[in-house]
């Protein structure tokens, strides 16, 4: 009896492992290979691509003004930021980006990835993360959205569009409005 149980257990473990392996392989095949990105310190090329598309989805071109995440290397800044963070943060960020990319498959049962969606589909999917039933998805949304907002709107190119005239000390002491 005990032997049979052990055999069954081993069999079940092998089956599960095989299924997981096949799923992982399937997911890898599903994800189109990302073009290499020079100089990355933490993120893989695929994670860099996902972050770039998250940023572009969060702050896209068009609308009330042209300035967008396309004007800022948000993914590169994120990689730089992570490079000086503890290893546990780097791992978490990588997993988070992988999860976002596989989000359509995992949470919407669509045989595709975030990066393969159209811009409109990406926006709808990304928006769903902000109100997702799983707290982890909302946490990931908060983290990536906050970083993107900070990175895009800290740039001088954004300021004329949001009524900000630039650092006030420079304005006071600059040549146009000298003391």
């Amino acid at each position: 009896m005990e032997l049979v149980t052990r055999r069954r257990l081993v069999g079940a473990a092998l089956l599960s492992g095989g299924a997981l392996g096949a799923a992982a392989l399937g997911l890898q095949l599903l994800r189109e290979k990302a073009p290499p990105v020079a100089g990355l310190r933490v993120l893989s090329a695929a994670q860099h691509r996902t972050m770039a598309l998250v940023a572009l989805t969060h702050i896209p071109p068009g609308g009330p003004f042209g300035w967008s995440a396309a004007d800022v290397d948000v993914a590169g800044l994120f990689d730089q930021f992570l490079a000086d963070q503890p290893a546990s943060d780097q791992r978490d960020a990588g997993v988070a980006l992988d999860l976002v990319d596989l989000g359509p498959l995992m949470f919407e049962r669509r045989w595709t990835t975030f990066t393969a969606l159209t811009p409109d589909q990406r926006l709808a999917h990304w928006q769903a993360w902000s109100v997702a039933p799983q707290a982890t998805r909302r946490e990931i949304w908060q983290s990536l959205a906050r970083f993107t907002g900070m990175a895009v709107y800290d740039q001088p190119g954004a300021w004329p569009h949001i009524g900000y005239r630039g650092p006030s000390l420079a304005r006071r002491t600059g040549p146009e409005q000298g003391p």
């Binding site: 702050i59 000086d84 926006l123 902000s130 569009h161 009524g163 650092p167």
Partner: protein
């Protein structure tokens, strides 16, 4: 002024000795350093952050300043990502990056601690001289009418229209020209904060100061000569470059509730109350779309406070809520936008017409500071139902004020955003769930974690600020408060610094 930067090769220290080592240079640490140095003690003040003074270093840019002036590069949050936990990591501590609000502990709160918590020395009368010294350090004055920008005028108009009482706040600015970037440092040095007041005085009195030096552990705490393990950091403060030791007769931890608790936990010190009793005072932002230009970027960000609903009660402590105008710089505002896509861009394009405030809702000390498996701080905090109820009431009050001032719509940045156009829509606020990571809350005034107590089983430190059971190791930061002290903690912590510093200077035997 002699400040040794441990990130520079010339600043790499060998092992050091002193009578008193003070860890952390904010309102508590800097004040104690000054008081003890002026009393003739041999003081070494150790700060993890860098020294940021003047326009070359304080650049008024979000990304670099949040990175350099704030703990965890501005990214510290509760474990569930719901609350941004903001605290300083710079010479001068939180005083460098706060909005300069001077709100001393109310007499009723001193009485509450005195009677309900049994802290015999904390009566209003006994504390009055130390409050006065704190206010003197801060050069505290009332903000004048001409310093009130349009953003603050709108909240005041709304409050007046609703019949609510409020006040122009007291602040610690001198020579302020209204640059508007208080939260990422004043390049003109107009804040009378520890970096500008206590630290120069401490140095004049003989204190030595180290920056970019991270204290990670206390050892030999039971011996007359205790040892601090210190790591020198690189110029950005990201990585450790070398290790040295500091021997001291006495150690004062003033690294803020999270920092102090982390060092004690890593050292195996403190009792089973360590890290418990944390107040975060979560704040909720309310944003109004006005019909006319507001230009809230310009001028003092925070000058008017709606105080009608604040409760300072000698039986129950600090409660109620308070509402204050606020604004930020583009990066931090952009990080708070909750609508992705074009909708979010439209919200940013409307900023010139936006008025904003924070509702400050004091909390019970229900949080806990622990450690992750890798030894980093972990902050666990669950919003109580009572707090949520008060926060919803506060949000409604803020929305009513903005609507009374003519707002077209008022919003809370939750996901999805809660948007209200009229009084009758205010009932929607009752649906604010405050579920984890569904709304961005802010904590700027952490307290507790190492609370002072009359009995060893009720707190971590005795009434003299010394760890129960560990002679010679003391705490002097917001962690000592057994409950919320005030809606703004700069003046309360400075008061503690003067109180404990004077006591220690008088009672510690000369070495």
């Amino acid at each position: 002024m002699t400040i040794t930067d441990c990130s520079q090769s010339s600043g790499q220290p060998d092992d050091m000795r002193c009578e008193v080592a003070i860890v952390g240079s904010g309102c508590g640490g800097a004040t104690v350093a000054r008081v003890l140095a002026e009393a003739g003690r041999d003081v070494l003040l150790i700060e993890e952050g860098g020294d940021f003074v003047g326009p070359q270093r304080l650049t008024q840019r979000d990304l670099s300043m949040y990175d350099q002036l704030y703990a965890d590069r501005g990214a510290r949050t509760t474990a569930d990502r719901t609350i941004s936990v903001l605290s300083g990591r710079v010479l001068g501590g939180g005083g460098v990056i706060n909005a300069c609000d001077v709100v001393p502990v109310h007499e009723a709160i001193w009485r509450y601690w005195h009677t309900i918590h049994g802290l015999q020395q904390w009566s209003p009368q006994a504390m009055a001289p130390f409050v006065a010294r704190a206010l003197q350090d801060l050069s505290a004055t009332a903000i004048t009418q001409d310093q009130v920008n349009r953003n603050n005028q709108i909240l005041r108009q709304g409050a007046q229209a609703m019949g609510y009482t409020g006040e122009l706040m007291h602040h610690n600015r001198q020579g302020c020209v209204g640059l508007g970037t208080c939260l990422i440092g004043c390049p003109l040095g107009a804040k009378r904060n520890p970096r500008m007041v206590a630290i120069p005085k401490a140095i004049t009195a003989g204190a030595r100061v180290l920056v970019r030096a991270k204290v990670v552990q206390i050892s030999a705490a039971d011996r007359p000569d205790k040892t601090l393990l210190v790591r020198a950091l690189d110029p950005k403060g990201y990585h450790e470059t070398s290790t040295f030791r500091v021997q001291a007769k006495r150690i004062v931890l003033a690294a803020g509730p999270v920092g102090t608790t982390t060092i004690l936990a890593a050292s195996g010190l403190g009792n089973d109350r360590l890290g418990r009793g944390l107040s975060l005072q979560p704040q909720v932002a309310v944003v109004a779309q006005m019909p006319d230009i507001v230009n809230a970027f310009d001028g003092i960000p925070q000058s008017f406070a709606l105080t009608q609903f604040e409760r300072n009660d000698e039986k129950t402590g600090l409660g109620g809520y308070r509402i204050e105008s606020i604004f930020g710089t583009p990066g931090i505002l952009g990080s708070l936008v909750v609508q992705p896509g074009i909708e979010g861009k439209a919200a940013m394009a409307a900023l010139p017409y936006v008025a904003a405030c924070l509702v400050l809702v004091p909390d019970e000390p229900v949080g806990q500071i622990g450690q992750t498996w890798s030894g980093r701080p972990r902050i666990d905090y669950t919003l109580s139902e009572e707090w949520k109820t008060r926060a919803r009431a506060a949000v409604k009050t803020a929305m009513r004020c903005f609507l009374a001032a003519g707002a077209r719509q008022v919003m809370v940045a939750s996901a999805p955003p809660l948007v209200v156009h009229s009084e009758k829509e205010l009932a929607q606020v009752d649906g604010l769930s405050f579920a984890p990571a569904s709304i961005g809350l802010i904590s700027a005034h952490q307290q507790g974690g190492t609370p002072i107590s009359a009995r060893p089983d009720a707190g971590v430190c005795d009434p003299d600020g010394q760890l129960w059971g560990t002679p010679g190791v003391y705490v002097c930061d917001g962690g000592l408060f057994p409950t919320s002290s005030s809606t703004h903690t700069m003046a309360p912590i400075l008061t503690l610094g003067h109180f404990l510093g004077a006591k220690w200077a008088a009672t510690w035997g000369k070495t």
